[in-house]
């Protein structure tokens, strides 16, 4: 398709990025001072981009809806960040990280982007340590690593279960330094309501001051969207309550293509839903699968007895337990990639072996008792205790497990009131991350010139499934090490442009349409709250566009979402007014966009007649129930162009070429 030029540089894959950087256009320091850049979102991608661009000398305006940039949802990432440092000497390399990521993504990502990601991964760790990020260290004072799902090396750097927090605080502190210098103007509690396109280029945004309710016009020479993913289209997800698609959706409606919306990651280890009053789901780090063993009862009657509360999991003998991941995937066992683990859990629960307390019994066990005994024996040996009793071993092992996962166990206990040292945790998959997003080229530019998308907001690096500890890597790679180079190539044309005026008719029109939407919500006086519609949308998404999809369900979903959307625009009720903090109004605008995205999402899933990564079509599976790709017909990125209605979006295909990796059936057996 001629409209999609990925702009991947020529040359061998290992040299593409270096050569490209050497030949890219630069903006000299004096000229940078007269160039403005808007960054929307202050998570790992947005925060690191804002800081780096300001360090380079650009005038940055950064926006976040939270009360501080430090609260972006990157902060909740627990497990770690991958980097091809090979500190453990276990054979890791840039190529291997590249290979694992492409394979983990089920061969649906762009090779050149992923290679670049693997290449800069090592720099990220260096940069973060220099910033004072307190990664875990061993007794020699050197950095420690752990292993994550879908790989066979230890390349994950971590800071207990708070890696995302520590990395985000690193980026936030870099931002703070620039805020103090006046190089970043920070707009907290501001939400981007629309992008402004002037003469075909992104030249600014309309933002709403969430405290005063005022609409503000902000202009710039380029607009960077780092607003995260759209998992909240499912209502219940592990995303923050405020996480939304609006910034990405607004640029989509103004010309940015939206790629692979159906690629959604359902994370296998989340705390199961407790009931209808639930507002969000909580993730338990994937790192738990390093030591925890996942199982369900081998006999249906045991599962029933457990659900009825007549039997405890600890009462079940070893032979009555079905460690189904170890059984089905002996070589990766409990460490299979997320999509595989999630589907396997759903398969067991659907077959009636689930142990959850809700109607459908949605939960499986994550058990640490063998890890506790294994570590206990090791500790006993280290301490020279030769005839340790079982209780002593258990005590020693509990201490080791506590040191490794203490905060996660504590979190679990706080939420469920169950002690995971004594009884296995209950987990179930939940929506966690969206691999799909705004289509970008090698420069991370969308199909709107001057408008960039970085981090989870774009689609580029994870294909159809993301490996654990790769989201942090991508966010920081985009913000610290990719965008600051590639954006210069575009801005080099703008050194003589001068400040962009905000009184043009484009700004006026954009502001007017936002104002009309706000007025509509306030004056509509319908009979249902925003959440009423959001919950209904979420239910349709989860049941028909969730972990397993089929043609009939998807077609129904498209119709149902359309209906909900029509009803929403008739019957939504937003109390209060638009001249101050009005959280219902904020939600209404976000849900309006989710109601459009949901439909495109289902449409994309319908068109992709294969199973790959997080996208599982029941019609396309092997006899053993594994996902079946169709490389002949679907080795492409589906990039959707907005044409006025989500279901009528126009499909553009970017063919994916694999020159350095052979397309294989993904196997973790």
């Amino acid at each position: 398709m001629s409209t999609l030029d990925s702009k991947v540089p020529e040359g061998p894959i290992a040299e593409k990025w270096t050569n490209y950087k050497n030949n890219i256009r630069l903006v000299n320091p004096a000229n940078k001072r007269s160039i403005d850049v808007i960054v929307v979102g202050t998570g790992l991608a947005g925060g690191s981009a804002a800081a780096s661009l300001a360090e380079l000398g650009y005038n940055v305006k950064a926006f976040c809806y939270q009360d501080s940039p430090r609260r972006a949802h990157s902060i909740a990432a627990q497990g770690g960040i991958n980097a091809a440092k090979n500190y453990q000497g276990d054979g890791d390399s840039t190529y291997r990280l590249f290979y694992d990521t492409v394979k983990g993504g089920d061969y649906r990502s762009r090779e050149a982007n992923v290679y670049r990601l693997a290449e800069v991964s090592a720099n990220i760790i260096d940069q973060c340590v220099a910033q004072g990020v307190p990664f875990a260290r061993d007794y020699g004072g050197l950095l420690d690593n752990r292993s994550f799902g879908g790989v066979q090396v230890s390349r994950t750097f971590y800071a207990k279960g708070q890696t995302g927090q520590q990395l985000l605080l690193g980026a936030y502190s870099a931002m703070s330094r620039q805020i103090g210098k006046g190089k970043i103007q920070m707009y907290n509690r501001h939400e981007m309501m629309d992008v402004v396109v002037v003469d075909g280029k992104a030249r600014g945004i309309i933002a709403r001051n969430l405290v005063t309710g005022e609409l503000e016009r902000h202009s710039a020479h380029a607009v960077v969207i780092g607003s995260g993913g759209y998992g909240n289209v499912f209502f219940l997800s592990t995303n923050a309550m405020g996480s939304n698609v609006s910034a990405a959706w607004k640029i989509h409606k103004k010309g940015a293509f939206f790629a692979n919306p159906c690629y959604t990651q359902i994370h296998p280890t989340c705390i199961p839903q407790h009931g209808d009053q639930q507002s969000k789901l909580t993730l338990m780090s994937e790192s738990l699968r390093n030591d925890g063993r996942i199982w369900v009862p081998a006999k249906k009657e045991d599962a029933e007895a457990i659900r009825a509360g007549k039997l405890k999991p600890t009462d079940l003998k070893e032979e009555d337990r079905d460690y189904y991941l170890e059984r089905r995937y002996p070589s990766f066992g409990n460490l299979v990639p997320r999509d595989v683990a999630s589907r396997a859990a759903k398969e067991r629960c659907d077959a009636g072996f689930g142990v959850g307390t809700n109607e459908s019994g949605e939960a499986v066990y994550l058990d640490f008792s063998s890890a506790i005994m294994r570590y206990g024996k090791e500790e006993a040996n280290i301490k020279g205790i030769h005839n340790a009793s079982e209780t002593e071993i258990k005590e020693l092992g509990t201490k080791v497990v506590e040191a490794k996962y203490g905060n996660l166990f504590q979190m679990y206990e706080k939420i469920t009131a169950d002690n995971p040292y004594e009884t296995p945790m209950k987990i179930y998959p939940a929506v966690h991350y969206t691999m799909g997003g705004v289509w970008v080229d090698y420069n991370l530019m969308t199909t709107i010139p001057g408008c960039y998308a970085i981090g989870e907001a774009n689609f580029s690096d994870h294909g159809a499934n993301r490996l654990g500890a790769s989201a942090l890597m991508q966010g920081l790679a985009d913000g610290y090490f990719v965008l600051p180079y590639t954006i210069g190539d575009y801005l080099a044309d703008d050194i003589r442009t001068g400040a962009i005026p905000t009184d043009s008719k484009e700004f006026e029109e954009a502001e007017k349409s936002v104002q009309e939407q706000m007025d509509f919500f306030i004056n509509n006086k319908g009979k249902h709250s925003v959440d009423y519609f959001h919950k209904r949308l979420g239910k349709v998404m989860w049941n028909k566009v969730g972990m397993a999809r089929n043609e009939k369900g998807l077609k129904e979903a498209i119709e149902e979402i359309k209906e909900i959307r029509e009803q929403f625009w008739k019957e939504v009720s937003v109390p209060g007014n638009a001249n101050g903090i009005n959280q219902e109004l904020e939600k209404a605008a976000r849900v309006a966009d989710f109601l459009e995205l949901g439909e495109l999402f289902a449409r994309d899933a319908l068109e992709r007649k294969e199973s790959c990564g997080g996208h599982f079509r029941e019609e396309y599976k092997t006899e053993e129930g594994e996902a079946m790709r169709d490389d002949k017909n679907f080795t492409y990125v589906a990039a959707w162009e907005y044409t006025g209605e989500p279901s009528k979006a126009k499909l553009h295909k970017e063919d994916l070429k694999y020159e350095n990796i052979e397309l294989k059936t993904r196997s973790y057996k």
């Binding site: 800081a51 360090e55 939270q66 009360d67 501080s68 430090r70 609260r71 949802h73 902060i75 909740a76 440092k85 800069v120 720099n123 260096d126 940069q127 220099a130 910033q131 004072g132 307190p134 990664f135 875990a136 260290r137 061993d138 004072g141 950095l143 800071a159 207990k160 936030y172 502190s173 870099a174 703070s176 330094r177 805020i179 103090g180 907290n188 405290v211 923050a240 309550m241 407790h274 009053q277 639930q278 507002s279 969000k280 909580t282 979190m411 706080k414 939420i415 009131a417 610290y480 090490f481 600051p484 709250s529 959440d531 009720s573 109390p575 209060g576 101050g580 903090i581 009005n582 959280q583």
Partner: protein, 253 residues
């Protein structure tokens, strides 16, 4: 109202239209609250109820709802983040309350945290303190030295990490009888003072951050230790001692 399944509660909630208007405590009833619900889910139910009655819902800050973003900020029954140790409001569950109980819900109170609506306060003073020195002055380059070039004593690295877990929620300020921000500031000062990367500019950092803290109108520390108890991340008072030491050292050298 007949007793429904779940908890029936009386809520006394601070309502204030904006920073310019005066506020007052209002009383609401909620019923049928599942003990497994989180405190904020209970607030959601209250808000749905208010919307159905065509009243304005209670504004409150919240986002991640898993205890890490630091947005939620409620003073519940006289305690920051309510009863229970090492938790944020979003991690507080309704099983901690008894059927029929009256619960007081107030915003953080401090001159440096003005209320902007209902339970929402402005904590940008924390951001300004961070901008005054809560960083290591290193540019993004990709050419910094290898991450393992300087080994760091595990003990120091662990202490730095413990200090770094601060989520900037402001519970320390809210609970301190003096509305002092020393636990927050000292956590950042400590984290960076303990690491070789941060030591280089430790002197300027502590001076600048303390100066900014004072300018924001926070009170002084009188070592009651309330902040440490109410801190959802258990940040230790040891950090305040370290900051005092760093400050004195930088003042005389």
């Amino acid at each position: 109202m007949s007793a429904t399944e779940g908890l029936n509660l009386t809520l006394k909630v601070w309502r204030q239209k904006s920073d310019k208007e005066k506020g007052k405590m209002e009383t609401y009833q909620v019923s049928g609250i599942s003990p497994d619900s989180s405190f904020l889910e209970m607030m959601d139910i209250l808000n749905e109820q208010l919307i159905a009655e065509d009243k304005e819902p209670v504004a409150f800050d919240h986002d991640c709802r898993e205890g890490i973003c630091g947005s939620c900020s409620m003073f519940i029954n006289g305690e920051a983040h309510g009863p229970g140790e090492m938790i944020t409001t979003c991690q507080l569950h309704m099983r901690e309350f008894k059927d029929g109980e009256t619960i007081y819900i107030e915003p953080w109170r401090a001159k440096a945290f003005p209320v902007i609506k209902d339970l929402v306060v402005d904590r940008s003073s924390f951001d300004r303190i961070m901008a005054s020195g809560g960083f290591v002055s290193v540019n993004t380059s990709g050419n910094t030295q290898d991450a393992n070039a300087i080994p760091i004593d595990k003990h120091d690295a662990d202490k730095a990490f413990d200090a770094a877990t601060c989520i900037g929620c402001g519970a320390c300020v809210a609970t301190c009888k003096n509305a002092s921000a020393m636990l927050f500031v000292s956590a950042k000062v400590s984290q960076l003072a303990l690491l070789p990367q941060g030591k280089v500019e430790a002197k300027e950092r502590v001076q600048n951050m303390v100066k900014q803290m004072d300018e924001e109108g926070f009170g002084n520390c009188t070592n009651t230790g309330a902040c440490e108890v109410e801190c959802p991340k258990g940040i230790s008072l040891e950090n305040i001692a370290r900051m005092n030491r760093e400050y004195l050292k930088s003042s005389i050298s």
